[in-house]
């Protein structure tokens, strides 16, 4: 129900200010972008990614934040691997 899925805006529909075509892994659907608009900081344009819920774009995906989160997770993974290595290098095991 609260299912939301990220999709890329590939086209703003001409003559319909609130409609855009969104593509998700090759699947396309017209989505209402009225809750985001096309101007201003929250507004969307072609190439933006949005979260789609029941046919509406609810939120613009912040790609910098996404990258930061992933980087953080990656860092944890590397730190974890380092620790494991350190552990493996120690004499305890």
């Amino acid at each position: 129900m609260c299912l939301g899925i990220p999709g890329e805006i590939v086209e703003l529909l001409p003559g319909r200010a609130d409609l855009a075509t969104v593509e998700i892994a090759g699947v396309r659907r017209a989505v209402n972008i009225g809750l985001l608009g096309t101007g201003g900081p929250g507004g969307v344009q072609v190439g933006d990614w949005v979260l789609v819920h029941v046919g509406f774009a609810m939120s613009k995906i912040d790609q910098d934040e996404a990258a930061a989160t992933l980087k953080l997770l990656k860092g944890m993974g590397e730190a974890y691997t380092d620790e494991l290595d350190a552990l493996a290098g120690s004499d305890i095991t």
Partner: protein, 375 residues
């Protein structure tokens, strides 16, 4: 798929799991509630508990919009659908929710014209295409979904579509969380905040939880790494003795939510004085109805629904499950009399319902499944 697959990576999960394990104080038990059914779904669908130590328990909350619809509202909707000129539309999840005399699917089999739609806009389109029928949209959902209903009503009004109306069952998340916090029988260490509700309402509305109840809340995304990371963030707060509202899901959730969406809701809807939640009883100011200005689109007024309160089946313990007091399998009828194919309670219907998610995906303990699959 972009913004999905990256957050399902097993290697990163293992690293996070190690961090989580490391953060847990020996002998201490952690109980976190994932408020949102979407999280419940993720947890079981991806077998996320395999990554959590035994001492971390995820408790399922009331955030499954289908699960909280009381029987009486299902009966009311079916009463509307029985008008020969009505097409009742609804999201697929609603189709099997039991009313006191059967579900939408049963009503459909008995002759009502009830159809699934993907979007409320599809219901409006149906109304345009069937001018001789009255199309009613059964609106359910939290703040995530309410704006789409509001925009649809605004569209219908702007276009003058006279045969479209909404049976409004939108609920709001904050009063539900408050009801949980106020319930005496549950001890929680923190909350996973509902990611998609928060795209609309933002993170501020949760601040009272940290401030007044001293519990941390982390707004979390819906991929399994999101949930794991949010658990990690909760544990960090606890380890550091903090209780704050934090946002794991920054790529999607702005701290202030979506002002246009809030505005749409506010334009079309207003809070009800009170609303019955399945298993939780009446909660004041916990649901939305259409404003008088949109009375022409309000199925509740057009059809003068009976609005009878129907008691839940005696054997149903959905209320306890929704409050997190009982784990799904602790309900007496779980998996025997109540199964996804023959649900007694709502939690066994929606894939976001705790019972259904646990039954469908999680039915085996971590230990047993680990034996089976890692052997």
């Amino acid at each position: 798929m972009r913004f999905i697959d990256e957050y399902r990576d097993a290697d990163r999960a293992r690293a996070l799991a190690a961090r989580i394990a490391a953060l847990c104080e020996p002998g201490r038990h952690y109980k976190f509630m994932e408020v949102c059914g979407g999280h419940t779904h993720t947890i079981y669908k991806h077998g996320l508990e395999d990554y959590l130590p035994e001492s971390v328990q995820l408790v399922h909350g009331p955030g499954c919009p289908v699960c909280v619809i009381p029987m009486g509202r299902v009966d009311d909707a079916i009463a509307i659908a029985r008008h020969p000129d009505v097409i009742l539309t609804s999201f697929g999840d609603m189709m099997r929710v039991p009313g006191s005399h059967g579900s939408f699917l049963d009503a459909k089999a008995a002759g009502a014209d009830i159809r699934m739609v993907y979007s409320p806009l599809d219901a409006l389109k149906l109304a345009r295409r069937n001018p001789d029928r009255r199309v009613v949209f059964m609106a359910v959902g939290f703040e995530t979904t309410a704006p789409s209903t509001a925009v649809t009503v605004l569209r219908a009004a702007a276009e003058g579509v006279r045969n479209f109306s909404v049976f409004c069952n939108h609920v709001t998340i904050i009063p539900a969380i408050k009801a949980i916090l106020d319930s005496p029988d549950l001890r929680l260490d923190g909350f996973l905040g509902p990611g998609h509700v928060s795209t609309v309402i933002g993170c501020r509305p949760y601040e009272f939880i940290a401030r007044d109840y001293g519990r941390p809340l982390v707004v979390a995304g819906f991929e399994p790494l999101d949930v794991l990371q949010a658990v990690h963030m909760l544990l960090v707060q606890l380890a550091e003795g903090r209780a704050e509202v934090d946002n794991q899901y920054t790529r999607v959730v702005p701290w202030n939510g979506n002002p246009r969406a809030l505005q749409a809701i506010n334009q079309v809807m207003e809070l009800r004085p009170h609303f019955e939640w399945r298993g939780l009883g009446f909660i004041s100011h916990s649901a939305l109805r259409l404003r008088d200005a949109y009375a022409d689109f309000d199925a509740e007024r057009i059809f003068q629904v009976p609005g009878v309160r129907v008691a839940d089946p005696k054997s149903c313990q959905c209320g306890e499950v929704l409050k997190g007091v009982l784990r799904p399998w602790e309900c007496k009828v779980f998996g025997t009399a109540c199964t996804p194919e023959n649900p007694i309670g709502t939690c066994m219907v929606s894939s976001e319902g705790a019972c259904a998610a646990y039954y469908n995906f999680g039915r085996f303990t971590r230990r047993r499944t680990k034996e089976a699959t890692h052997a």
